[in-house]
Subunit: 141 residues, 2 copies
DNA sequence: CGGTATCCGCTCGGATACTG
DNA sequence: CAGTATCCGAGCGGATACCG
C-alpha cells in the first residue's frame, strides 16, 4: 500500500488536508527541534529555549502548544511560586521525534553527496550562463 | 549515536546550519509532494502540476530546481519543439521520498489519536476559559 | 518563571503576463 | 510546453512590553 501525493492534498485544490498540517507541525522549523530535544529528557520552558537556541519566546510557546494539542507533547505544570512547568514527549511524540531524528541523521550522512551535487549543478549553470550571457537564477534559500 | 537538537542549529544563534536547510527542502510543503509523487513514475512539468494540485508554476519550478540542485531529482530535457522535459528521482531522492511517504503514512494511521487529543485539549481550554471568562488563544493554523 | 499581547518588517508564495 | 519576470497581499516570525 502506498500513499499517493493526491492523498495528501484535498479534493478542492489548494485546500489542505488535516494530515498535511500535522506533518508540517512535526517537520516545522522549531517543531522538529523540540521533538528531538525532548527525546533525551524533559525540559522546562527556559531550558528548552536555551537548548534549541535562536527561538523566540513566542514561537517556542506557539510550537509547544500546537504539539501539545496534537498529542505529541505533554505539559506538566506544578502550581508553585515561582511557576514550574516542564515538557515531555508522549509515546506518540517519541515515535515522531525518533522519525525526525532519523531523518536528520540520514541527511547528515549524505551532506557530502548533497554538496557535490550542488557544486556540479552550479558549475553547469555557470557555464550555461556564461555562454548565454544571462544572470544566474534565484533559488530557494 | 544520536543527533542533538543543538547539532542542527548553528553555533551563532539563529543562523541555520546547512543540514537543516536540506531537511526543510525535503519536508517542505511542495517538496514532500514532489518526492512522493516521483516515487511511482516520472512526470512532465504540467503532469506533475496537475497531479499535485494547487501548486503554482512558480513554486513547482522553484521546488524542482532546489531538489535537483541538492541531488534528489533528475531533470531530463529533450531538445525538441515543443520542449519535452521530464523529472525522476535519483537514488538518493528515492530514499528521501520513501522516508516522507512513510512519515505521511504514519501520521495518517494516527490521525484519529490526533483528533482525539485535540478534542480533549480544546475541551479543557474551553472549560478554563469559561471559568476565567477570557477569550480562547490563537493557535498555529 | 512562564508565559501573553501588540506591533511590524520581511519573506513566502499566489496571480498574472510574457518568452524560447 | 516549460518555464521566467514582476507585482503584491497574507502571515510567519522576531522584538518589545507587560502580566499571574
Amino acid at each position: 500500500m502506498s500513499v499517493s501525493a493526491r492523498a495528501v492534498t484535498s479534493a478542492t485544490d489548494n485546500q489542505v488536508c488535516p494530515e498535511r498540517l500535522v506533518v508540517e507541525h512535526i517537520t516545522s522549523r522549531w517543531g522538529m527541534l523540540v521533538l528531538t530535544a525532548l527525546l533525551d529528557r524533559s525540559y522546562r520552558f527556559s531550558e528548552l529555549r536555551r537548548e534549541i537556541g535562536g527561538v523566540s519566546e513566542k514561537m517556542l510557546a506557539q510550537t509547544l502548544q500546537t504539539l501539545e494539542r496534537d498529542g505529541f507533547v505533554h505539559r506538566n505544570a506544578r502550581p508553585v511560586i515561582p511557576p514550574h512547568v516542564d515538557y515531555t514527549v508522549t509515546d506518540m511524540g517519541r515515535e515522531a521525534g525518533e522519525r525526525m531524528r532519523a531523518m536528520i541523521q540520514w541527511v547528515d550522512d549524505r551532506m557530502s553527496a548533497v554538496v557535490d551535487a550542488r557544486a556540479a549543478y552550479d558549475r553547469v549553470r555557470a557555464e550555461r550562463d556564461a555562454a548565454t550571457e544571462a544572470p544566474p537564477v534565484a533559488r530557494t534559500r
